[in-house]
């Protein structure tokens, strides 16, 4: 079963690979060449995956710019408050002295407390972990997988002989909140370095557009198609800018949570069984979503209702 689906997904990816290019002439010629002599042609023509993704990003952005003509593109970092002036005012009042500031302080302390071996988090990260949030998640060529900031924090711990922290909420999120805060205002510029990265990207994209759960909703159904409209008492936030404000302090939680925590909650809302924290699917989804938010600035952690 799984294999069949993977196969189908692969075929679709290939179709999209072909269809994504704007330049129609080379595609058809590539197609005919592909039919004649498949392997050598593919190897010769270095596919620029970043370019393909950049096209998706442009399309994604213009969708939201058209849907919300009154919001500046840069404002989408503010989530639903970019499109809802009534709640934006309440939000700005809370952001004046947001409850997550207490967690940032805790995060600094955790971050600076050395491990048993004398090393610390700063030793694991570029620029000692300061102002690096905008580079996450990234595709690690060596291990051929998406590395999120939360995963990197735990990898850092484990490589220093410490037990990994629990994902979702608590100490780990306090640390990543501090790291996000030190990167505020810096622009997300996530890269797609190779074919494997593009596969991870496509996998995340497929997750985003796939309907799931008993309620049969995809991420895109709520946060793209009908973003901005009201579902029960809530206005649905646009998908662009979802990752920029992470981790998020939700009033409903009364504390901070990671993007994975939010994914799990979203899945529960549509009655889909949530996947494990940092599962490959969620990491790929975060990779896709952050790529779609390329060009926006980090403003995490943030508060939401």
């Amino acid at each position: 079963m799984k294999n069949t689906i993977n196969l189908i997904a692969l075929i679709i990816s290939l179709i999209i690979l072909a269809a994504c290019s704007d330049n129609s002439a080379p595609v058809s010629s590539a197609k005919s060449k592909f039919a004649e002599k498949a392997k050598p042609v593919v190897a010769k023509e270095q596919i620029n995956y970043q370019q393909k993704v950049d096209q998706d990003i442009r399309r994604f952005r213009s969708f939201f710019s058209n849907k919300f003509p009154n919001s500046d593109l840069g404002e989408f970092k503010d989530g639903v408050y970019a499109i809802d002036p009534a709640t934006r005012e309440q939000w700005l009042e809370i952001e004046e002295f947001p409850p997550y500031e207490l967690a940032i302080d805790e995060g600094i302390e955790f971050f600076e407390t050395p491990f048993t071996n004398g090393k610390s988090y700063a030793d694991c990260f570029e620029n000692k972990g300061e102002s690096v949030r905008q580079n996450y998640p990234y595709f690690d060529i060596k291990s051929s997988q998406v590395i999120t900031l939360e995963l990197a924090i735990n990898q850092c711990r484990e490589s220093n002989g410490e037990k990994p922290l629990e994902y979702g909420q608590g100490e780990l999120v306090a640390i990543s909140s501090y790291m996000a805060n030190s990167s505020r205002g810096l622009v997300f510029d996530i890269k797609v370095p190779n074919e494997m990265a593009y596969k991870a990207y496509m996998n995340g994209k497929q997750f985003f557009y796939s309907k799931r759960g008993q309620l049969n909703f995809s991420c895109a159904d709520c946060h793209l198609k009908i973003a901005g409209s009201s579902l029960r008492a809530d206005r649905l936030s646009p998908a662009i800018g979802h990752p920029t404000g992470m981790p998020v302090y939700r009033s409903a939680w009364g504390e901070l949570g990671s993007i994975g925590h939010r994914y799990r909650e979203c899945n529960k809302n549509i009655r889909a069984k949530p996947l494990a924290y940092q599962s490959e699917a969620y990491r790929n989804l975060e990779y896709y979503q952050t790529l779609m938010s390329n060009g926006l600035v980090v403003n995490g952690p943030s508060s939401r209702k």
Binding site: I12, S210, R212, P274
Partner: protein, 97 residues
């Protein structure tokens, strides 16, 4: 007379075995399909609850309810699998053009 007694006993035994076997088989089937859906990441959050409830009902001897719950769980698990198959083919339909 004895033959009739034995006959009744046999019918009773077979009957009870059939009664007992049915909900458990359904539960097993539901569990199997649920796992398949979980493997592709499309399990519904409601299915395992139904299965657990079916198990409890069977344990309590309420086979009728157990069967009903298990059948519902099977339906859900099958639908979640169908959903996965549908998504694999049609997912990009809602992508902005």
């Amino acid at each position: 007379m004895n033959k009739i007694k034995i006959g009744l006993l046999v019918i009773g035994l077979v009957g009870s075995v059939v009664w007992e076997a049915t909900p458990y088989e359904l539960i097993k089937k539901a569990e199997m399909i649920r796992l398949k859906a979980a493997e592709v990441g499309f399990e519904w959050s409601t299915t395992s609850t139904l299965i657990a409830e079916a198990k409890q009902a069977a344990k309590d001897g309420n086979y009728e309810l157990a069967e009903k719950l298990a059948a519902e769980a099977i339906k859900q698990a099958e639908n979640s699998l169908k959903q996965a198959e549908f998504a694999a083919v049609n997912w990009q339909d809602s992508e902005p053009k």
